[in-house]
Amino acid sequence: MLQRLQDSAFSMWVVGSDSLWSYPTILTLHTVGLAIIVGAAFVIDLRVLGIGRDVPVQQMRKVFGFFWTGFAVNLASGLVLFAVDAVHKAGQPVFLVKLTLIAVAIVITARIRRIAFGTAADGTSTPGDARSLAVASLVLWAAAIIAGRLMAYL
């Protein structure tokens, strides 16, 4: 199955074409999406940790919109990057580590949204467990980036 995915006409075009619009652009889109996802998470986590306290809670909810938009971009571009190299990547432990880190980081970001930026939150106080979640989020996203980069080497 993975082999067929990798040998599909689309995969062949992505890796075989000399066009800048094939593989290089998809790879760049994945980096643009990364900047948006983790950039948004960075601002959200800093806000939970007490930076930018004067930014109203309702306005911070918009940052989550960027977070999910970036995630959509990277889910799509990531699926293509996986398809063109499916057999190799599926057997790469560091790739599975990266996916796990991202899954946990996403769950944590969704929890932060609920407990620190939910309807009950007024922004005057941040629940203590939101602060530990924010620290966990920063560590997990950094680790996911490192795992992603190391996919080129391990």
Partner: protein, 162 residues
Amino acid sequence: MYGFITWLESTGVSTALRNTTWVWPTCESIHFIGLTMLIGAAGFFDLRLMGFMRRVPIAAAKSFMPYGIAGFALNLVTGTLFFVMRPSMYAFSAAWWAKVFFIILAGLNAMLFETTLGARVLTLGPGEAPPTSFKIVGCVSLLSWFAVLYFGRMLPYIGTGN
């Protein structure tokens, strides 16, 4: 310039760093982390300058900026190390020069903002429409940083002369 590049590549520092196995991947990982810090903090502030999220006081939107600048500092250090390790790969790449151009543009844009327009930042309250000059500065900054990211990531693919 050719002489300088050849000299730099042959120095002991360049050779030693280049031949130490994990230096390059480690710097790459830090460079990617740094870019998310910069784009996150600067992107938030730039969007506010452009007139989005008007309920955010501009001074509050700016409070993330020191962390964005920390990301830029990480990338300046790791970027310099990349150049020291493989100067010929960068100096003869059109994409790298485009990247440097946009870094300088973003820097000058930020300096212009800080030295001339910035003082008006604190007087602008929540809900107030930003002046056109703010919108231009925010837009130039946001586009420049994404151009820096674009030319950085496309560096192996464009303008290498191959």
